[in-house]
């Protein structure tokens, strides 16, 4: 009985962000010390659906950035990791791929800002894309490194001895085994980009307003209701992923 | 002396052990031969106290131990996998049973050194399990069990995952050390030669029933043990 209560308690703790955000997104004028005695409203959700909504615009920007970043990072990381796995021997190659990822993204942004300024990329969409690629490509390289095993190499050799070129090898020896991982890496990079705040805020100087930037803006404006709504929108893609692809997270515990 | 009386065990209405009874004298190895699914592992687990829900009784020196917890039975179960503690080196793995009994360091060192020499593991003392071969790991597993002089050793096909030549070396080594250390053991295998090398007495397990032979001759002569078939096979090979 105690165990069941403990598990239920844990579940409630894990669900509390969702519950708190939902509650606030329908609340307004929530003065201290009332708990439930305040007006509830759908006006914030209606704001979301209006055309000029900053939220809609932010969702669009976030989706575009995350989609592009994850597509490019997955593709490039896939092939770069092949190069490292097949053609290098020192483990320092793989270790150095961790460096951009392990230094806090915002600290990396601070140190690289000079170059972004010189290239005219500060405060631009392209600048944010590049900045996020600098952390997602190395992640993708690390992610795919263990895929390039001797089994895949032997399959490539087999295709070559049967007269195939690299494209044949890709189509028949590599992609069939890599499909699942490519999808997983895409979604992992998508989430890294989707959640990103510090680096995006610094390089974007607030001009490229992604959903995370908007959440923080509403928090600083002391508008917890819109912040909650924006926060809920941030939660949707990962929650959908967790629900739709149950093994997506579970099988990649070590990779993350 | 260990006595097992009329052990019966069923899983989901399927009888796995049917009235299994035998006696095991001190310092003796009973080798039990049987195919997969004959109930050998189930019998070992019941004796070790790892399975309940059976009828019958197990007696050690006349005292029933059915309600005694595994750690207090004085039986050590040796699996097919060595199951060495990965964070301890060879020396520490072998010494484990003495360390937890708070024996003096000098005694532990002496006994561990002696066991390492007997198991021919000199030079490997400071290596960790992942640095050892399968045969070496299994020797460490034996050393860990032998050093605490258990009432009974329960061996569940301990050499099954080894290559043939290592397996043979291990069978002979086990026999030598078991006799020298005076260990009582129940050795379960599906390999006829292994049973013959390691055992003092022999048993055959089939469909949950155990037949025990009091000596090697009666085991060899029995038509179901497989020995006669084996002899016949090699004779035919030789004649051709």
């Amino acid at each position: 009985m105690t165990r069941k209560i403990s598990i239920t308690f844990l579940l409630l703790i894990f669900l509390q962000p969702l519950l708190v955000l939902l509650y606030l997104s329908f609340s307004t004028q929530w003065h201290y010390p009332s708990l439930f005695a305040h007006p509830f409203t759908t006006q914030h959700w209606q704001t979301l659906l209006s055309e000029s909504s900053a939220l809609i615009k932010s969702i669009g920007i976030s989706i575009m950035i995350s989609t592009l970043v994850s597509f490019v990072a997955t593709g490039m990381g896939f092939f770069i990791s092949r190069g490292i796995a097949y053609y290098t021997k020192s483990r320092w190659w793989l270790t150095s791929a961790y460096f951009p990822y392990v230094i806090a993204p915002v600290v990396l942004a601070v140190m690289l800002n000079f170059y972004f300024l010189k290239m005219g990329l500060t405060g631009t969409f392209a600048g944010i894309l590049l900045a996020q690629l600098l952390i997602t490509i190395p992640y993708s390289v690390i992610f795919f490194h263990s895929f390039w095993s001797s089994t895949i190499l032997e399959r490539e050799y087999l295709v070559a001895t049967l007269g195939g070129n690299f494209m044949t090898s890709l189509r028949h020896a590599i992609l069939p085994s890599a499909k699942g991982l490519l999808v997983v890496c895409y979604f992992q990079c998508y989430l890294i980009s989707w959640f990103e705040y510090g680096l995006t805020q610094y390089i974007g100087v607030g001009k490229v307003e992604t959903l995370t930037i908007l959440v923080y803006r509403y928090i600083s404006e002391a508008n917890p209701y819109l912040a909650a709504l924006a926060g809920l929108l941030l939660l949707i893609p990962p929650l959908v992923l967790l629900f739709v692809n149950r093994s997506f997270f579970i099988q990649n515990v070590w990779k993350s | 002396m260990i006595e097992v009386r009329q052990i019966k065990k069923a899983f989901n209405d399927e009888e796995v052990l049917r009235d299994v009874s035998f006696k095991l004298r001190e310092n003796e190895t009973l080798s039990v031969l049987g195919a997969s699914g004959s109930g050998k592992s189930t019998l070992l687990k019941i004796i070790a106290g790892l399975l309940d829900g059976y009828s019958g009784t197990i007696l050690v020196n006349g005292k029933a131990i059915d309600d005694v917890k595994p750690k207090n039975r004085g039986t050590v179960y040796i699996y097919q996998q060595p199951l060495l503690f990965p964070h301890l080196n060879v020396e520490q793995n072998i010494a484990f049973g003495l360390t937890i009994r708070d024996r003096e360091n000098s005694f532990i060192q002496e006994e561990t050194g002696r066991m390492i020499a007997e198991l021919q593991l000199q030079g490997q003392e400071h290596k960790y399990p992942h640095q050892l071969s399968g045969g070496q790991q299994q020797r460490v597993s034996f050393g860990r069990a032998f050093i605490i002089r258990p009432e009974m050793l329960l061996l569940d096909e301990p050499f099954a995952s080894l290559d043939p030549s290592t397996r043979r070396d291990m069978q002979i080594l086990f026999k030598e050390i078991a006799q020298k250390e005076g260990i009582t053991s129940l050795f379960v295998t599906h390999d006829l030669k292994e049973a013959l090398i390691t055992g003092d007495r022999f048993g055959m397990m089939s469909a949950g029933k155990l037949r025990v032979f009091d000596d090697k001759e009666s085991f060899i002569k029995d038509s179901e043990s497989g020995v006669q078939e084996e002899i016949q096979f090699w004779k035919e090979i030789q004649n051709h």
Binding site: I84, I250 | H87
Partner: protein, 283 residues
């Protein structure tokens, strides 16, 4: 052979361009700025900005960040171990196991916001305390956010760290056959305490150490959560870096770059050390 060399060089070049070069450029610029060789107030080589790093608010900030990172990791690991040993059977149920991934779907900025809404003076817990008569004024509610010990930040990190460490511990438990090792140890005469201290904990702690070390670095470099929940002084290292860069005093900028470089060196140094300790795992 020629083709392989071309491919090898191209891929290595691409790797260096996209992964290694940005870090080198970043640290290079920060190094130059921090010693006065470039930047708005470059007066030639000097080390005084580095000297400032180890005193006053900078030292306090660094120590505060170390405290937050260490406390967050330690608490997350302790609670995960406690959950593992008390609820392991329930946690191996697929439905329960899946729920451990829920916190991983929440971005740091949202966690910070929610912790604020729960634990601040005007937050949900304060309201519940007031309504249940535990406090009669808002000022009587204890400080959990913007406080000296970073309780709110640590709680937010616990929300991330606890489920992640627990997932890893569950996997480590299974991969290392700890159930069977427990039986083996018990049959060798080990009691519950011996099994916990001599078998379970050493194996699990050894296995999880690299991840806990990495997470400690991540917690130390946290930005979004301390931005919402942290106090004004001392601040977390990353917050102070950005504050120094974005405020009005130009003389703070070289120090900010020195701080950034210092932090990057610690991260890279720790990672490299970990890599050397755990060669096989990294291969």
């Amino acid at each position: 052979m020629l083709k392989n060399t071309v491919i090898r060089r191209s891929l290595a070049g691409l790797f260096l361009l996209l992964c290694a070069l940005p870090v080198v450029l970043a640290m290079g610029y920060a190094a130059l700025y921090s010693v006065g060789l470039t930047g708005l107030q470059s007066d030639g080589f000097m080390l005084q900005h580095w000297a400032t790093l180890f005193q006053g608010e900078f030292l306090s900030s660094f120590l505060y960040s170390l405290w937050i990172a260490g406390a967050s990791s330690a608490l997350a690991l302790a609670t995960a171990l406690a959950a593992l040993f008390t609820l392991r059977k329930e946690l191996t149920d697929k439905r329960v196991y899946r729920m451990l991934f829920l916190p991983l779907t929440v971005p740091p900025v949202v966690i910070g916001f929610v912790i604020y809404q729960l634990f601040s003076g005007g937050g949900i817990l304060s309201r519940v305390s007031y309504q249940s008569g535990l406090i009669d004024q808002i000022s009587h509610f204890p400080e959990f956010v913007h406080d000296a010990y970073g309780v709110g930040i640590i709680l937010a990190h616990l929300f991330i760290g606890f489920p992640f460490f627990l997932i890893l511990l569950l996997n480590l438990y299974q991969q290392n056959n700890l159930d069977e090792l427990e039986i083996t140890a018990a049959s060798l005469g080990a009691g519950r305490k011996d099994i916990l201290l001599r078998v379970h904990l050493p194996v699990l702690l050894k296995g999880i150490f690299p991840v806990v070390s990495l997470y400690t670095i991540f917690f130390m470099g946290a930005y979004e959560i301390p931005l919402i929940l942290g106090q004004s002084s001392p601040q977390m290292f990353t917050i102070l870096i950005l504050e120094k860069l974005q405020r009005y005093s130009l003389s703070d900028i070289p120090v900010a770059y020195a701080m950034a470089l210092f932090y990057a060196i610690i991260c890279i140094g720790t990672l490299s050390w970990l890599m050397m300790q755990y060669k096989k795992r990294w291969n």
